[in-house]
C-alpha cells in the first residue's frame, strides 16, 4: 500500500514537472513586457499573454508562425516551439511601433 502510494506520488510529480515551461508576456501601455524572452532550445513553451490595456492587441510573429488576438483587459495562452537556437521577432499588430519584442532561443 505504502509502495503504491509512493509510486503514484512519483508518477504525479513526474507529470507535473514534465509539463510545458510557462512564460508570461504582459501588454501594458501598448508595450510588450518583457521585450526579450529567453527560452531553451527544443522545448515547447506556453506563453501566457496578459493584456492590461483597454484596447485589444494582436500578437503576431512570422518567425514563430503564430498570430493571436488578445482582447482588452484579458489573457490568453499561446504555445511556441520547439525552436532551434536563434532570434525570433514578434510584435503587436495594432501597435507595431511600440509593442514589439523578441524570443532568444539558446
Amino acid at each position: 500500500m505504502k509502495k503504491s502510494f509512493i509510486a503514484a506520488s512519483l508518477l504525479l510529480s513526474g507529470l507535473a514537472f514534465g509539463g510545458d515551461q510557462e512564460v508570461t508576456l504582459t501588454i501594458e501601455n501598448h508595450q510588450m513586457k518583457p521585450s526579450t524572452i529567453e527560452i531553451p532550445a527544443d522545448k515547447k513553451i506556453k506563453l501566457i499573454m496578459i493584456n492590461k490595456d483597454n484596447t485589444p492587441e494582436e500578437f503576431e510573429s512570422y518567425d514563430l508562425a503564430r498570430e493571436k488576438i488578445i482582447p482588452a483587459n484579458s489573457s490568453t495562452d499561446l504555445y511556441i516551439g520547439p525552436l532551434k537556437p536563434g532570434r525570433y521577432e514578434f510584435h503587436g499588430e495594432l501597435n507595431p511601433m511600440t509593442a514589439k519584442g523578441e524570443v532568444i532561443v539558446k
Binding site: R66, K68, L78
Partner: protein, 245 residues
C-alpha cells in the same frame, strides 16, 4: 480503344465528379484565429477534353467567433460552355487542437452548397484537416467526403465521393512563400475508380501576406495545377485573395 462499358463508366464518373472537381478549389487550413474577419475572392479556370472552358468565381465573407470555429458564406458563380449556375455556400471550419500544443493541428471542414436555380442538387462536404510544421516548411493534408442530394433531373447516381488536398509551403518570407498544392478525387469512398478515371491535379503554388494597415492585411495564394491523371484537365489555374480586418 476503350470499350463501351469503360466509356459509360467514364461518362458516369464525369457526371458525378464535376461538382467536386471545381477549378476554384482551395486548401482548407485547420488553424483558426479568433476575431478574424475576412472578405475572400477565389477564381479558377480549366478546360475539359472537349475544349470547353469552365470558370468558377467565389466571393465570401468569413468570421471566427471563437478559437475553434470559423464560419464563411459564399456566393459562387460557375460557367461552362454558355451555361451558368449560381450557388450559395456555407462553410464551417473547426479546430480541435490548441495551436502549437501538439505536433499536429487537427480540424474539420463542413460545407453545404445550395444552387439558386431550381432542379439542381444540393451538395455537402465533410472531412478532417491536418497541419504540421517542420522548421520553415508547413505541411497540410485534408481528406474530403462529398455527396449530392435533392433534385436529380439528370438521374445521376448520387454517391459519396472521396477526395484529398495536400500542400507543402516553404516559409521563405512573409510576402512571398512557395510550394506545391494538390487536389484530387478518386471516386466513391469505398470503391475507388481505376487510375485513368481518377482526377488528380498537382502543381506549383505561391503564397504571401501583405500588411496594409493596423491589423489589416491581404493574403494571396495561386497555383498552376497539372492534370496528372487522364480524367483531369491538362491545366487548372486557381487563385485566392483574402482581405483580413
Amino acid at each position: 480503344m476503350l470499350s463501351k462499358t469503360k466509356l459509360l463508366g467514364l461518362a458516369t464518373f464525369f457526371i458525378t465528379v464535376r461538382a467536386i472537381a471545381g477549378p476554384a478549389d482551395y486548401m482548407y487550413l485547420p488553424v483558426i484565429t479568433k476575431g478574424e474577419k475576412e472578405i475572400d475572392f477565389k477564381y479558377g479556370t480549366s478546360k475539359n477534353d472537349e475544349g470547353v472552358r469552365k470558370h468558377v468565381s467565389k466571393l465570401g465573407l468569413g468570421y471566427a467567433p471563437t478559437d475553434y470555429w470559423f464560419t464563411e458564406v459564399y456566393a459562387t458563380r460557375e460557367s461552362e460552355g454558355g451555361q451558368g449556375l449560381t450557388i450559395a455556400e456555407w462553410e464551417n471550419k473547426f479546430q480541435f487542437t490548441e495551436t502549437g500544443k501538439y505536433p499536429f493541428e487537427i480540424g474539420m471542414i463542413t460545407e453545404i452548397e445550395a444552387p439558386l436555380q431550381k432542379n439542381n442538387p444540393y451538395e455537402v462536404k465533410l472531412g478532417p484537416l491536418f497541419q504540421t510544421d517542420i522548421d520553415r516548411i508547413q505541411l497540410n493534408a485534408n481528406f474530403l467526403f462529398e455527396r449530392k442530394f435533392g433534385s436529380n433531373p439528370e438521374h445521376e447516381k448520387f454517391i459519396t465521393e472521396f477526395g484529398y488536398q495536400f500542400q507543402t509551403k516553404y516559409r521563405y518570407r512573409k510576402e512571398f512563400e512557395f510550394g506545391v498544392q494538390g487536389f484530387g478525387e478518386v471516386g466513391e469512398w469505398n470503391s475507388w475508380d481505376n487510375h485513368k478515371a481518377q482526377n488528380h491535379r498537382w502543381g506549383p503554388a505561391v503564397f504571401g501576406k501583405i500588411n496594409v494597415g493596423s491589423a489589416q492585411k491581404f493574403k494571396y495564394n495561386a497555383a498552376v495545377l497539372y492534370g496528372v491523371s487522364e480524367a483531369a484537365p491538362d491545366h487548372t489555374y486557381r487563385m485566392q485573395l483574402e482581405y483580413e480586418f
